[in-house]
Symmetry: C2
Subunit: 306 residues, 2 copies
Amino acid sequence: VSSTQPLFDRVAIIGIGLIGSSLALALRQSGLAGSIVCGDASEQHVKMAMELELVDEAMTDNAQAVRDADLVILSTPVGTLGGVAESIGPHLKKGCIVIDVGSVKQAVISAVAPHIPANAFYIPCHPIAGTEESGPEAGFAELFQERWCLLTPLPGTDEAALDKVRQVWRKCGAKVEVMEPATHDRVLAMVSHLPHGVAFTAIGAADALAGDLKQEVIRYAGSSFRDFTRVAASDPIMWRDIFLNNREAVLDILRRFKTDLAALEQEIVRGDGAALERRFEHGRALRRGVTGGRFVEPPVLKDAGK
Amino acid sequence: VSSTQPLFDRVAIIGIGLIGSSLALALRQSGLAGSIVCGDASEQHVKMAMELELVDEAMTDNAQAVRDADLVILSTPVGTLGGVAESIGPHLKKGCIVIDVGSVKQAVISAVAPHIPANAFYIPCHPIAGTEESGPEAGFAELFQERWCLLTPLPGTDEAALDKVRQVWRKCGAKVEVMEPATHDRVLAMVSHLPHGVAFTAIGAADALAGDLKQEVIRYAGSSFRDFTRVAASDPIMWRDIFLNNREAVLDILRRFKTDLAALEQEIVRGDGAALERRFEHGRALRRGVTGGRFVEPPVLKDAGK
């Protein structure tokens, strides 16, 4: 029994993948939840959630899962959040807090908010955390430790509800910030969505090389190619939904990137050594955090045993 | 005193940066070199090479440094190698082996080979190893451990000389392969030069964002952006010379990459979820080494103490 008074008698987690299962474990450790129930469309996930003792109850019926819950966490893929919200909306307890954990915020808010009744509180969240793995067996309580969690509350959000959500994430170890949904989407397009799109594209280009050359490329793909493409290893459905749902911001960043890439190409074509040197010097300075602010290096994940 | 019989009475290292200083330390440990001398245009480097006890002798005069050397290692930036070869050529001992460590091979061979006299042996090498640091103080003996070193010998190269060069790299811990210079340049354009160009470009795009947004981007640049741009932290002069000297192969890969990136963009514009999912699924499979060969993960660097 934890010394912390449960903040919520009953927590419902809808979607018990990497984020959902990690939240279940972190919430259990935190003592913030009296009991935890999960709903998931996959019977296999439901079975595993019970076997792994992630939750107290698990079921495939989301409407039933949210009944009597004081906190409902929507952790299904971004593209499904609207449908999930619609199906649970009529079954939410009065005064219940609903959060989502989607990697895109404007499109998710448009899809979810209309389905949350006026007597419940909806607070969009985005914990910037993940691994290359997915599914209920991938979860671990420390996933959010020292990671950012961005909250993008709607205008006029209840302060007490917002404060409770802050407490949830802080207890899970995250650093919490409040941000405008539009700013969130533009920032993430740059720091996360562009790198993913580019890494997938580089891997595709390597794959498209002719037979012998491709084999050599695969053999000598060393640490730089590995670091560069590590971001491309996570869940394809998640990434499909991110690109579909953050279309405008991603396309804007892609256009800037393509313009700059064309400029690099022209410098190479011209053999313009001075321009290339300036470009690389500037890039290194930025990378090292000399110019302007620092590119923040998040602390190393703490040991699971701590 | 090492149990290994010195393979070379005298080794000259021209350019005592990260690679040169690491080779000096590794060669000393290996017992392959009777004595090690370095030549470097920078007086500061010469001073540090002596202070750090990297070599037995250090001087700014390269022609003097190579005198009586049985092995000469050219480890200056790619763009300077032709000039360095020209200045040392007349002073090389008969039967001397000359190697370079440039990241590009065809252009380097064209620049260096004409200056090596017929009674010496020139063998182009490329150890695929490096860190974010540069200069003589950045060197460490284990830099080449478990890393690839690609040799791109010219037609008719003396087998005994080639075998000695193999031994040098193997004693430094590297895995040695022989390859055609043109193949080398195309493979490296894909696994190394493209990722660097793209990472520098992404950093530049982040830097070009308007003030407030840029600050947010810098703040929330998490592990994916950090991994993705790590490759952009190394020496700007080295990268300028690589892009100038591997122009054709880099431009070819850049064109393929741009075509694929435009296809991704069009899928986003169209909102083509099925195409995006296929693309990301395929990328993940390739990244994980399921389709075709494995993207090789090199072993972790051994402890310096071993």
